[in-house]
């Protein structure tokens, strides 16, 4: 169940990449007249700010270029991730939360982020960078809606988390199996129908039954959900959009680390 969903998402991203390139080409007709910004000529702090802008504008090639320049200047991979990419995606997330950017812009920004992540991922693993956390996410059984879930996945990856996306229509067994096999920290569940929402309680109740509820942070989301519902079913938090999901995940991970340290 897990592999096809991730491949599916990767295929979708491949299409986004092709299409974003197409979009940029059409934009380049006006851009050719503009003064071209040469990233390698920018000092570090200006380059980072330019990368924030480039993420905001969904400019994947420029992000990859910027990442390579910073690495060439001996920046640690983890620093590139957090200061250039995650910080940029946080701005995107805030504007998405505040109703300035919408789904199309967020998809393009996340796609640009992926360009940077492609370079950084192997280097992060090598350099023993601190782990933000890992999330297993999926839409619940009976529900096929996935746009919101995909946005959460992208934004979480943009924030430096590892995400294992189970896709749609997931029974409880699939969630629990993935949590264990992936050694995840967070379970994310999404639903768009009021009729499938209650299934989230089934998953949480099963986790309690099996004595595994306390091992994971449970976040829930989807248009018909609200905070009250999240509390009623025993989730840790309801997240109203992808940006809030990232902030909430970071908060809970920090708490978890504090508990483990203290």
């Amino acid at each position: 169940m897990s592999q096809p969903a991730n491949t599916d998402l990767r295929q979708k991203v491949n299409v986004i990449e092709r299409n974003a390139a197409y979009l940029r080409q059409s934009g380049n007709k006006t851009m050719a007249e503009e003064e071209d910004i040469i990233l390698s000529e920018l000092p570090d702090d200006e380059l980072v700010l330019q990368m924030h802008d480039d993420l905001y504008d969904g400019m994947k090639e420029e992000i990859a270029e910027g990442v390579n320049i910073l690495l060439g200047r001996k920046w640690e991979p983890y620093r590139v991730l957090t200061e250039a990419l995650v910080a940029g995606m946080t701005i995107v997330g805030h504007d998405f939360r505040d109703g300035i950017l919408f789904v199309p812009e967020v998809l393009l920004a996340a796609n640009a982020m992926k360009g940077g992540m492609f370079i950084l991922k192997p280097l992060l693993a090598e350099s023993g960078a601190p782990r933000m956390g890992k999330m297993v996410i999926g839409t619940v059984k009976g529900d096929i809606h996935d746009i919101g879930k995909n946005l959460v996945s992208m934004m979480m990856e943009g924030a430096g988390f590892e995400v294992h996306d189970l896709g749609i229509n997931n029974p409880v067994e699939d969630y629990l199996e993935a949590l264990i096999s992936e050694d995840a920290d967070i379970l994310g569940m999404s639903a768009l129908l009021t009729t499938t929402m209650p299934y989230m309680k089934v998953v949480i109740d099963t986790m309690i039954e099996k004595g595994m509820r306390d091992d994971y942070i449970v976040l829930v989301g989807g248009a018909p959900l609200n905070e009250e519902f999240g509390k009623a079913i025993g989730a840790d938090a309801y997240c109203r959009d992808a940006a809030v999901a990232v902030e909430t995940a970071k908060e809970y991970m920090a708490r978890k680390h504090n508990q483990m340290a203290g």
Partner: protein, 337 residues
């Protein structure tokens, strides 16, 4: 020969549409995970009851049980080859109920979104989207629908593809979008932008508007936004009966019949001509809505304050059409044109 809806639009000041489909089917025992459209074949009496519920409550127009009946959505249930068949049967059942009503009732063939993101951001091409919608359109036409009715659309590209598909089927149509994100659709379309888009279509709808979204007050703000553009095309308002709340393992919508009655009257005052409900709206609500519309004269256009006082606050401060719209980041050195 004009269609039933055009006739109704020409002779009536307001038209009461129906309420929810999913809400009622789930109350009848549909389990989450099953495609409602399959009930057209396996539980036709329940679908007749669904339609009859609206008609008996006073609806002048109801939607067929075909919202998820496109190939893209039926794929989950292994029924992607049955899109045309299931749509046709949904309309046949509708025709049966409408023709027995004893008064003019319009059968509107519901066409919901594909659930996929369209190119260039996603995989679904324009051509394939048109084909998917066209298949449903032909089925609904065969079954005897009076008009086609696409609803809960978020992306303007999808709305345009539906318009093209419905032209291919040579059917009159209506189309509503769902404004659920800071007063816009999920893809960022404002009420004003929707009107511009509708007016530019080669195959414009008989009526356009908003359905679903967040609450009833949000929907009426959207209707005001439509009306402010001054288009001649009639407006549709199909708002939710409140917000879903979770009590004792069940979902209840918190909009009372009384609230929906107030919403219906305000919708008309905002400029809507076709008025109905969406999620959570049952025949009980429709009865109250009809009584309210019949019992009140048309009033002046309400202010946002009047709307929130009657129906509750908005889910966002701005809907993108006022000065309160937050602006995108400035200071970006690369011009995007």
């Amino acid at each position: 020969m004009t269609d039933a809806l055009s006739n109704m639009l020409a002779t009536r000041d307001w038209i009461l549409a129906d309420g929810a489909t999913g809400t009622i089917l789930f109350n009848m025992g549909l389990t989450s995970g099953d495609a409602p459209e399959l009930w057209n074949v396996t539980e036709p009496d329940k679908i007749r009851a669904l339609y009859r519920g609206s008609v008996d409550a006073g609806s002048d127009l109801f939607l067929t049980n075909s919202f998820g009946g496109n190939a893209s959505r039926l794929k989950l249930h292994g029924a992607e080859k049955r899109a045309r068949e299931l749509s046709r049967i949904s309309a046949e059942l509708g025709r049966e109920i409408a023709d027995a009503a004893g008064r003019p009732v319009v059968v509107a063939g519901s066409v919901g979104p594909t659930g996929e993101i369209m190119a260039p951001l996603g995989e679904l091409t324009h051509e394939l989207t048109v084909e998917i919608f066209h298949e449903q359109a032909e089925g609904l036409k065969e079954g005897g629908a009076d008009v086609l009715w696409c609803e809960t659309i978020s992306a303007p590209e999808e709305y345009a593809a539906a318009a093209e598909a419905f032209a291919l089927a040579d059917m009159p149509w209506c189309g509503t979008m769902s404004f659920d994100t800071a007063g816009r659709t999920m893809m960022g379309v404002t009420s004003a932008a929707m009107v511009s888009m509708v007016e530019k279509l080669k195959n414009p709808p008989l009526a356009y508007g908003a359905n679903c979204g967040v609450g009833a007050s949000d929907l009426l703000r959207t209707i005001l936004g439509f009306a402010a553009q001054g288009s001649e095309i009639p407006i549709i308002a199909k708002g939710n009966a409140g917000i879903p709340k979770f009590h004792d393992g069940h979902i209840h919508y918190d909009g009372t019949p009384e609230l929906m009655g107030q919403y219906a009257v305000l919708a008309r005052d905002c400029g809507a001509k076709i008025i109905g409900g969406c999620c959570g709206t049952t025949p009980e609500h429709l009865v109250a809505m009809r009584a309210a519309l019949e019992g009140h004269a048309q009033g002046p256009r309400p202010s946002l304050e009047v709307i929130t006082a009657a129906l509750g606050g908005f889910s966002s401060a701005s809907d993108g059409t006022d000065d309160a719209t937050p602006a995108p980041r400035k200071n970006r050195r690369r011009n995007r044109g």
